[in-house]
């Protein structure tokens, strides 16, 4: 199971508190995790990635293991600590706006 931390607005939208956990079929990648997340919580479609291009929305970031994975290819393997559930995959809103 992959642990995912969502920003507050998306937790409210998905009606969840705390971390969510998703299971991915293949080798865990950003794309697999986000596909599984959107399958479990359809209301999140379009909020993290553009619905058509699949691109990360500009003010959304992905962190894990104290690293910024936002610019990693979506099919790159996630860190082993995320894969084994030791560390969460963090989705967050960039520090911008008011």
């Amino acid at each position: 199971m992959i642990r995912v931390v969502l920003p507050a607005h998306l937790k409210n939208l998905a009606h969840v508190t705390g971390e969510v956990r998703v299971e991915v079929a293949g080798p865990p990648t950003q794309r697999e995790v986000l596909d599984a997340l959107e399958a479990a919580y359809p209301m999140l479609r379009g909020t993290i990635r553009d619905r058509h291009s699949g691109a990360r929305r500009p003010f959304v970031r992905f962190y894990a293991c104290e690293r910024d994975l936002s610019h990693e290819p979506p099919d790159a393997p996630l860190p082993e600590e995320v894969v084994v559930g030791k560390e969460p995959f963090i989705v967050l809103g960039a520090m911008a706006g008011g």
Binding site: P7, H9, L10, L13, M43, R45, G46, T47, I48, D50, R51, H52, R57, F59, V60, G93, A94, A96, G97
Partner: protein, 371 residues
């Protein structure tokens, strides 16, 4: 006794303001969707507890929320707003071509006949329709693909389709307005469109006879006179009596004819309301005095309405979707400001009072009268 429900969209959430028909004591419910921009919140004319909200934000994009119980509970519905077919290009501010890019839904217009049918106006300008309560959205492509489309340019607020009027008599007639492309009419349910901008004059464009390029801020119609439309343009208040075939200016003696909203009295089709704003570079009322102007003659002759409104040191704006009228016998007028006040008048504008003073900046105001 009837219930009056005012639906308020703000920069940081939605609010529902409720009173009985005396409109003296109000309850304030909200924020719903706290922290999100609610560009528009409105209800179905045929099923008033069916509400739709356009929820958006810079981080997480566009959502549409629907309530079937008058706003007590909400659920997100479809947010897949795709440009159909060839996306094409329009002109950017600097005159260079740029592909259409979806940014947000500015306005939702539920059908007069079917609670599951609702239209949505987008930035970049496009018109969508859903016939299943907002789950699935289909673009009415003929508007964006009008031959003039590649020449459309955004106004300062973006290239937004902000006004949708579903004609109360001609069932297939739709009016829309786009900043800064102008006004358009369809007589076949959106299958084809006619620019209706003849008679508009805009110093901001070089060709005064251009069929598009005018920055229309808002259109308003009285249901008893469907061929008469009133327009608040960037500058100028205009009217047409032939369904947009030609327009004439009715700014008359207004202190400024720049502004955003325009509204028509519920029972007097020649009584109209605007909120003059100083200029396009000074988005606040002339002389720091917040005045609604009323014309009982369909324009030209205007009277300031000031009782209960701040008459000094007031520098708020009133946006295009932030004025509404109710249908009670003594027509109520409502508007929201960029300073977070929602004012109402229970006597057609003669006197005003705030319902709330400290909401986030108000983007939209609608009102429902419930039996």
């Amino acid at each position: 006794m009837s219930i009056v429900r005012v639906l308020v969209g703000t920069r940081k959430g939605a609010f529902l303001l409720t009173s009985d028909e005396r409109r003296r004591d109000w309850t304030v419910d909200g924020p719903h969707f706290g922290g999100w921009e609610i560009y528009h919140l409105t209800g179905s004319p045929v099923a008033p507890d069916r509400l739709y909200a356009s929820q958006s934000g810079g981080w997480f994009g566009q959502l549409i929320q629907r309530s079937d119980d008058g706003g007590r509970s909400w659920a997100p519905v479809g947010n897949d707003f795709a440009y159909a077919g060839d996306v094409g290009e329009h002109l950017w501010y600097d005159g260079t071509p740029r592909p259409w890019e979806f940014k947000r839904i500015w306005h939702l217009e539920p059908s007069r006949h079917d609670p599951d049918t609702v239209y949505a106006g987008a930035e970049d300008a496009a018109l969508y329709v859903s016939t299943d309560g907002g789950e699935k959205w289909t673009e009415l492509t003929a508007l964006r693909q009008h031959p003039s489309g590649p020449g459309w340019q955004p106004g300062a607020g973006g290239m937004c389709l902000h006004t949708i009027i579903l004609d109360p008599v001609h069932r297939d007639r739709i009016y829309v307005a786009i900043s800064a492309a102008g006004a358009f009419r369809s007589d076949d349910g959106g299958a084809s469109w006619l620019p209706i901008n003849k008679g508009l004059r805009s110093a901001e464009i070089p060709d005064q006879d251009s069929e598009t390029g005018h920055c229309v801020h808002r259109l308003a119609q009285h249901p008893s006179r469907p061929d008469t439309l009133f327009m608040q343009k960037h500058w100028d208040v205009m009217r047409t009596d032939d369904a947009g075939g030609s327009w004439r200016e009715v700014s008359g003696d207004l202190p400024s004819d720049f502004g955003f909203p325009i509204a028509v009295h519920a029972h007097e089709p020649e009584t109209i309301y605007v909120v003059p704003i100083t200029s396009d570079s000074l988005h606040y009322p002339p002389d720091g005095r917040l005045r609604v102007y009323r014309s009982r003659t369909g324009g030209e002759h205007w009277e300031p309405l000031t009782e209960g409104l701040p008459q000094s040191h007031c520098y708020v704006n009133v946006l295009r979707d932030a004025m509404a009228v109710d249908t009670l016998d003594e027509c109520g007028i409502y508007f929201g400001t960029s300073g977070g006040q929602v004012y109402h008048s229970a006597d057609a504008g003669d006197s005003w009072a705030p319902i709330v003073r400290d909401l986030p900046p108000v983007l939209s105001v609608e009102v429902q009268v419930l039996p």
